[in-house]
Structures are given as structure tokens and as C-alpha cells.
Amino acid sequence: MGLFKFSRSRSLWMMHFCTGCGAIEMPPTMTSRYDMERFGIIPMATPRQSDLLLVTGYLTVKTLKRVVRSYEQMAEPKYVIAFGSCTMRGGMYWDSYNTVKELDLYIPVDIYINGCMPRPEAIIDAFIKLRDMIDKGEANAWKNYRDNLDWYKQNQAKVFDINKWSAKI
């Protein structure tokens, strides 16, 4: 099992989905100046091949729907890193009528990064933390989602139009 964990933690493929303004610090992290490929993290086009979902900032209801879809399409084990203030308690958009305030009501989150926006160094710091957590077997938020699916679905249904969104997977 140790080998699996080791391999997993060193070839995290990240889903290419820029959900909010945090996406602006992703290109510098991906490219030559900070070069996250040093840690085996590369962007991946489809959810089915990726291990890691970065929620880079606030989520509008419309995006959250796509994020939940994408998250459910990802193969387990899967990890979520939430960027910035907005994913914790709404951030700057705490009174906006169109953004969700607490991401972990809708999908489980492994690591939060502070900042608005987090610097590339902070993002890499979170990657390393996640890597260590996977090595130790602590990054189990995805299991939480499987175990408490009903609760998550309930919360999701609260913000989505129930007629257009089926509570089943």
C-alpha cells in the first residue's frame, strides 16, 4: 500500500478548471517561474483522468453545479484544494446573491489556502501538504463525500433548482 500512496502523491493530475479569480495565479504556478511539474502535478483536461480539483475562488450557483458534476466524474481517490477566502466563508462576496458561501457544504475539502489571491508559493505549499497527507493516509475527504452523500445532496438541492437537478447520482 505504501507504494500506491507514494505513487499517487507524486503524480497528482490536476483538473483544468478555473472557477474563480484564483485561476490567475495558476499559470505562473504551472509555468517556468514556479514550475509545479517539479512535484508531478500537471493540468489534465478531463475530470476522469484527474486526481485533484482546485476550487480557485468563489463559486456561483451556476459554476457549483458544474463543479459538483466534475467532482463526481473524477475517479477515487480524489482531492480538493480550496483557494482563498471566498471558499471558506464567502470572502469579499459574503453578501452576494449569486455565490455560495461555504464550499464544504457542497463538496468535501482537503486543504484550504488563505489569501486573496494565494501566492504561487502558498499554492505549492498546499500541494506539498497534500502530498504529505496522502503519504500518511490522511487525505480522506472523498470518503466523507461517499459516506455522507445524502447530506451533501441535500445541501446542493437547497441552492439548485430542485426540478432541474436530480438528487440522485
Binding site: C21, A23, E25, P28, T31, T63, S96, M117
Partner: protein, 365 residues
């Protein structure tokens, strides 16, 4: 007739930011496209009505993520025009410096996107890596990398740090050196030229009528630049050209930015030389409970994407009554893209959309 229906975005490498396109194709030919926006709609205009004038200063940069400074400057300009506050000359020069640096960084981002869409992956590695040096300068000046929150009604929040001018000049010299590499790799690259010439043409008249602005308009052959036509800050004292490429295809839109890149460096060098001494801020009478006289004003400026405008209405209270933000991508990203993409081939969709430099957050706000 049944078409092949497919989606680009929101979770896709072929879009700029978080938006999606719904396409119908007949074989390899696009028959119809619908732009779907709203993934980033935060209701800024509403939120700003709930906040005092100064409290909106940290809000506005979030409207356009790759080039936040235009929003700060526009908001400040609008509030200043309503209230009769006049920022010092030095503050105006600093604002021009910030705006042009932001333009450079947005152009570098644009090159990365446009080249990436064409499969030339070396360019993103270079330009975004080099953009970081501009961000370093921003960090020194403003204290933030992405969001600078630097311009505020009355001036700017801090003065230039020691030795800043020479470091900006160094960065400019470095970029000038790098441009030679970019030219060889991208703008003179026969493959890029072949892939982009004569494709996605936006005609002159169409561009004028459809509210296309900025580099996209100039790439279609109309010499119009807010910096010259409706000059703001100290642009009328600076010497720069407005290049016009004029073919209106993807290549001319990319080339247009390449030529404007040179002009921006020229402006920055002039600003560094001409910047006078003096105060950097005219402090407001009260940071929180300050009231702006009633009135309405439309201010606009030239961003790297086109005409950015703020329509600000005040009813004489501590909070704005209404702010309408006119983002340049609004016209480019929705109607122009939808109409002009028809007849194009699937492989050209991404280069075309990237060439328009659509920035979804400024459409949706």
C-alpha cells in the same frame, strides 16, 4: 439536418477563464454557437450599492482579473469627477505607469493564450514566466501580486519605493530583449502565420457597428484609441503612436497587440522620465462617511481588451446609487463571437476565441 453538437468550457483548456460555448458543427464547419456566461456573476453592481464609496475600492479590481488596475483607476476617476477632487500630477503619472504595466502583463497573458491555442507551448512558458517580473514590480509598488488595490479616489495609496524607477527600467530592458525571441518564435513563425492569416475576419464596418473596441477594432483598420480620443490622466502629454494593422483576421489581432506592446514600453519609459515630484494623494475628508455630490458620469479608458467604462450615479449619499460597468469583452465575447464563428472550422475555434481576448469576469461582473 442533424449537427454535431459540442461544448467548449467551462471545464476546458480552450476557454479563457470560466465560460462556455455551445457549438453546432456540420462536419468540420461550425454552423452556430451560443455563448453561455454567468459562471462568474457575483453581482458587483449590486454589492457596490451596499458599500460606502471608499469600501468599494477593494471591490472593483475583482471585476477584471487579468488587468485589475483599469477598474481601480476608472472608479477613482469617476468618483473624482463627481466630487471635484483633483489628484496631484505625480499621482496621475503613477496611475499611467500602473495602467501601462498592467497592459503589458495582460498582453503577455494574451500571447500565452493565443500561442497555447495554436499548440505552441513554449510561448506560454516564456511569456508567463516573464510576466512574473512585471508582477514583482507590482508587488514592490502596490503590495499585491494579482490584486493591487492601489489607486483610490484622490490619488494612489503609497508613493514609489526607493529605486523603483530604475528597477522598472531594468524590467523594460529585459522585456525588450525578450521580444526578439518572441518575434522569432511566434510572430515570424510561418506556421502561426499560416494558421491565422485570413481566418476569423472581422470587417471594418461590422466592427464599428457591433461595438468592437480597443485592439480588436484597430486590428480591423480603424484608428480609435480612448487614450487619444478621450484622453484622460496625462496621456495627452505623452508621445506615443496608435498602430493599426487593419486586416481584421486572427493574425492581425495578435500582431496588433505585439505592436502596442512596443508603444506601452515607450510610454512607461517616458513616464519614468517625466514624473514630477509632489504628493501622491489628496486625502478624503473622511474615509467612511464621505458623501459624493449627486450627479452622474460616464468615464472610460483604454484597457488591453478595449474600452472599459464606468457609469456612476450618485444621489448625494455615502454610497453610490448605481454603478454600471461596461466591460470590453461584453460585445466581443457574446454577439461578435457568436456571429463571426459561423463558417469556421473546429480547429480554428480556440485560436479565434483567444484572439478576441475575451475576459469573462468583466462580462459578468
Amino acid at each position: 439536418m442533424r449537427y454535431f453538437e459540442y461544448f467548449v468550457g467551462p471545464q476546458h483548456v480552450g476557454v479563457t477563464g470560466n465560460m462556455s460555448y455551445h457549438l453546432w458543427a456540420d462536419g468540420d464547419e461550425i454552423k452556430k454557437m451560443i455563448t453561455s456566461v454567468g459562471y462568474l456573476h457575483r453581482g458587483f453592481e449590486k454589492l457596490m450599492e451596499y458599500r460606502e464609496w471608499v469600501k468599494n475600492v477593494p471591490m472593483v479590481p475583482r471585476i477584471c482579473v487579468p488587468e485589475p488596475d483599469v477598474n481601480e483607476v476608472l472608479y477613482a476617476m469617476g468618483v473624482e469627477e463627481l466630487s471635484g477632487l483633483v489628484p496631484s500630477e505625480r499621482a496621475q503619472y503613477i496611475r499611467v505607469l500602473v495602467l501601462e504595466m498592467a497592459r503589458l502583463s495582460a498582453f503577455l497573458f494574451y500571447f500565452a493564450g493565443a500561442a497555447g491555442a495554436l499548440g505552441l507551448y513554449t510561448i506560454p512558458q516564456w511569456t508567463i514566466g516573464d510576466r512574473d517580473y512585471i508582477l514583482d514590480r507590482f508587488e514592490e509598488l502596490t503590495g499585491g501580486r494579482a490584486y493591487h488595490i492601489y489607486t483610490t479616489p484622490g490619488g494612489v495609496r503609497r508613493d514609489l519605493p526607493d529605486g523603483f524607477k530604475s528597477r522598472v527600467q531594468e524590467t523594460m530592458n529585459y522585456l525588450k530583449k525578450r521580444l526578439i525571441d518572441y518575434d522569432r518564435l511566434m510572430f515570424e513563425n510561418a506556421i502561426i502565420v499560416k494558421r491565422t492569416k485570413g481566418i476569423g475576419i472581422i470587417e471594418k464596418d461590422y466592427a464599428m457597428n457591433m461595438g468592437v473596441t480597443g485592439p480588436n477594432l484597430r486590428a480591423s483598420g480603424i484608428k480609435a484609441d480612448v487614450r487619444k480620443d478621450d484622453h484622460y490622466l496625462v496621456y495627452d502629454k505623452l508621445d506615443f503612436d496608435v498602430p493599426v494593422v487593419g486586416d481584421g483576421d486572427i493574425f492581425s489581432r495578435i500582431m496588433q497587440r505585439r505592436l502596442e506592446f512596443d508603444e506601452s514600453i515607450k510610454i512607461i519609459e517616458q513616464v519614468l522620465e517625466m514624473m514630477p515630484d509632489g504628493g501622491f494623494i489628496e486625502k478624503l475628508p473622511n474615509p467612511i462617511e464621505w458623501k459624493v455630490p449627486a450627479g452622474d458620469v460616464y468615464v472610460k479608458l483604454e484597457s488591453s481588451k478595449g474600452e472599459f467604462g464606468y457609469y456612476i450615479v450618485s444621489n448625494g449619499e455615502e454610497k453610490p446609487y448605481r454603478i454600471h460597468v461596461r466591460g470590453p469583452s461584453y460585445t466581443h465575447g457574446i454577439q461578435v463571437a457568436q456571429e463571426k464563428i459561423v463558417g469556421m472550422r473546429i480547429a480554428d475555434v480556440a485560436p479565434f476565441l483567444f484572439s478576441l481576448d475575451v475576459c469573462p469576469p468583466d462580462i459578468e461582473r
